[in-house]
Amino acid sequence: MSESKKYVAAKMAVQAELPFALVEGQPYTQMPTDLYIPPEALEVILEAFEGPLDLLLYLIRRQNLNILDIPINDITKQYIEYISVLEEMNFELAAEYLVMAAMLAEIKSRMLLPKPASEDEEEQDPRAELVRRLQEYERFKTAALDIDGLPREYRDYMLTSAHVESKQYHSIPPEVDMREIIMAFKDVLARADLKVSHEIEREVLSVRDRMIILIDVMRTKEFCTFDSLFNPKEGKQGIVVTFLAVLELLKTQVLDIVQNETYGQIYIQSLAQEGNNGN
């Protein structure tokens, strides 16, 4: 078998089932198929693991051991030999693998030490923390598979929709509180120029109100007499307000004033009409 063929075979074996442990290029006990896996394939193997915990779990499972009863010596030896092979081939070992190797070595050394006199009841089995982490990881490894097994959109079921001939969008306008408008006005004035505040005194507003009325009156008639704009029933104050409104509209060039002869009739002309294409 050529190198490349062997590599392919190994790769296929990797894909077909979980990769197998490999030590210094030699198969470990009960190795399955291939005898030699070139370094490239080892890389593939390492990629198949989600990290040192996953690799450790695999080594434990391979030997059909209960996590709770890890023969720490065997596993440590296996693990460390495994990563030393990877190191040899300059594979960039993730730091996590080395940390795990150190942890295993530490546990192993503590196991070798003679047990201190039983006075210290708190002394834990040095494997306890490792066992806890392995168990914890295994729970979520299983949970990930469980989630993968849940009915999933596109793979297990489809979302449905029917054609709708006309999708008309209704939109409901938001509620507005007068106070929001007032506060907006106050803010904008504060930003622009505080001096203009006198413009919203009551009189001014009634002038503005009258200005709008006048604009509307003039909308229908292009001309009207100056006199007809005033309603004597409103009294002096009403006349003044109207007069101010007319002056304001003259100033802003909304209205124009026309007098054909001295002391003749004064007419008001709307300038706003011109080019009027709005509503």
């Binding site: 029917a162 001939e165 006309s166 209704h170 904008v188 919203i200 709008i212 604009i215 080019g275």
Partner: protein, 202 residues
């Protein structure tokens, strides 16, 4: 394969496809059952009848068959897309405030006071709501439209005339009387917080 099962599959396929499906494409789906064009056509016909008393109807359009909602149910279906009211922006509130207090006012004048451009969207929104109208056009170059508020605007806020708009003095009183109402809205503050939590990534 039973016709009932064929119909069920066709129904599911038509609704999952999200587009019209041709008979040929349907035939392809049953390739293992080796159904003929006629088998499919017959199933489609029966399916169409099944739908007579349901909310959908089977329809053949240029690109194939599709299931669509019945026209008669449109009044209910349209309600699905009733948009929830969105709050008006600060810019819109300032614009309507300026139009209310300063009418007749042109867009340029609003922009002068606000110091920023007034978007057409805001003017359109206010027009659509019938809160503002064009009073006329100012006789200056460009003939800008003069805006004013409408009767609907006054009605909405329960006012008889513009005179009912509070004056600045009244606004100040209001603030003094009801400080707890948080009239001075720091609106962006809260929005910001909410956004910040929602959109913040890693």
């Amino acid at each position: 394969m039973e016709i009932k099962q064929i119909k069920n599959i066709i129904e599911a396929v038509l609704l999952a496809a999200g587009e019209p499906v041709t008979v040929k494409r349907l035939q392809n789906i049953f390739s293992e059952q080796e159904l003929t064009y006629n088998d499919i056509a017959k199933a489609l016909e029966q399916l169409g009848e099944d739908f007579l008393y349901r909310g959908l109807e089977l329809n053949e359009v240029a690109n194939g068959f599709r299931l669509q909602t019945k026209e008669s149910l449109q009044p209910w279906i349209s309600k699905l897309w009733e948009e929830k009211p969105k709050k008006y922006s600060r810019a819109l509130l300032e614009t309507i405030a300026l139009i209310a207090y300063r009418q007749p006012v042109t867009r340029g004048e609003i922009e002068d006071v606000r110091g920023v451009a007034v978007s057409s969207y805001i003017i359109r929104t206010l027009m659509d709501r019938e809160w503002i109208r064009v009073l006329g056009y100012r006789d200056v170059p460009g003939k800008p439209a003069m805006f004013g508020t409408t009767k609907e605007f006054l009605d909405y806020f329960n006012m008889k005339s513009l005179e009912d708009l509070p004056t600045l003095a009244e606004i100040k009183d209001m603030e003094a009387l009801m400080p707890e109402l948080d009239l001075d809205p720091k609106p962006k503050e809260d929005n910001f917080q909410a956004q910040f939590i929602n959109t913040e990534e890693e």
